[in-house]
Amino acid sequence: MMIDWDSFTPVSALAGGATIGLAAAILLLANGRIAGISGIVGGLMRNKSGDISWRAAFVIGLVAAPILYRAFATLPQSRIDASWPVLILAGLLVGFGTRLGSGCTSGHGVCGISRLSPRSILATLTFMGFGFATVYIVRHLFAY
């Protein structure tokens, strides 16, 4: 393992992380809901009355964040290297997998670990492990 110190951004990573934690804290303390993105979006497909508007509002906030950010500062770099077919496959896997596994990086990785849920700890170890393995296979075994 070689650490890429030039790309290491500890301060912004911690600050951004704390901001994410703050958002999760407010949603929980004010609305009693868990800030798990896949669950919030997936719930929109269930059509339960009285349960749609808060989910839609949260998603609108997420999408609007870079638009607000851009009004005050230049957005940081964002590069998507994956080709369209890979993006489609990855999107299908992420959508189906997070719903089957009841959570993603936010719901299991942040909220679940915060309340020391054994299910979330296992889920996080599993998707991180498979994420590491996938990148290893794609980049180093197939040299894509």
Binding site: M1, M2, F8, T9, A13, A15, G16, G17, A18, I20, G21, A23, A25, I26, L27, L28, L29, A30, N31, R33, V41, G42, W54, A57, F58, I60, G61, L62, A65, P66, P76, Q77, I80, D81, W84, I88, A90, G91, L92, L93, V94, G95, R99, L100, T105, G109, V110, P118, R119, L122, A123, T124, F127, F130, G131, T134, V135, V138, R139, H140
Partner: protein, 140 residues
């Protein structure tokens, strides 16, 4: 009021993702690439988020109702089953292929790139397929 809080927390969450570097899929993949030139930054994103939200979970667990009088809704399942593990495996593979997870996918829409639109469309189809499967299994 709860809807306004949702909108604001969505915004704060999205701003956090941008600041943290989660909206740069190339950086996410550099974090997942242990055997390459590894960028450990994103481990610190979880390290920054968890202590803050852990305090909220402690508080909310004690109160039982939210400050706006809503019930605190926490998952009750404790069972570790095949769904949890297989779902997380599939998610991990998809995450490793593109470097995008659900939150950043939505925030990337606001960056205005077509690739984000493609990814989110496929992700929604994936979620919809799950709903269809779930409904079918429940009917049996």
């Amino acid at each position: 009021m709860t809807i306004f809080v949702s909108l604001i927390t969505g915004l704060i969450f999205g701003l956090g993702l941008i600041v943290a570097g989660m909206t740069d899929p190339a950086k996410v993949l550099a974090f997942l690439d242990l055997a390459g030139s590894w960028d450990p930054s994103l481990a610190l994103v979880m390290g920054g988020a968890i202590p803050v939200s852990a305090v909220a979970f402690l508080l909310a667990g004690k109160r039982g109702t939210s400050f706006l009088g809503q019930a605190v809704q926490l998952p009750e399942t404790r069972r570790i089953d095949r769904r949890l593990v297989v779902g997380s495996m599939l998610f991990g593979i998809g995450w490793g292929l593109a470097g995008i997870c659900p939150g950043p996918a939505l925030t990337l829409l606001g960056f205005g790139t077509w690739k984000a639109v493609i990814f989110v469309a496929a992700m929604l189809v994936g979620m919809f397929l799950f709903e269809m499967l779930e409904r079918r299994l429940r009917r049996k």
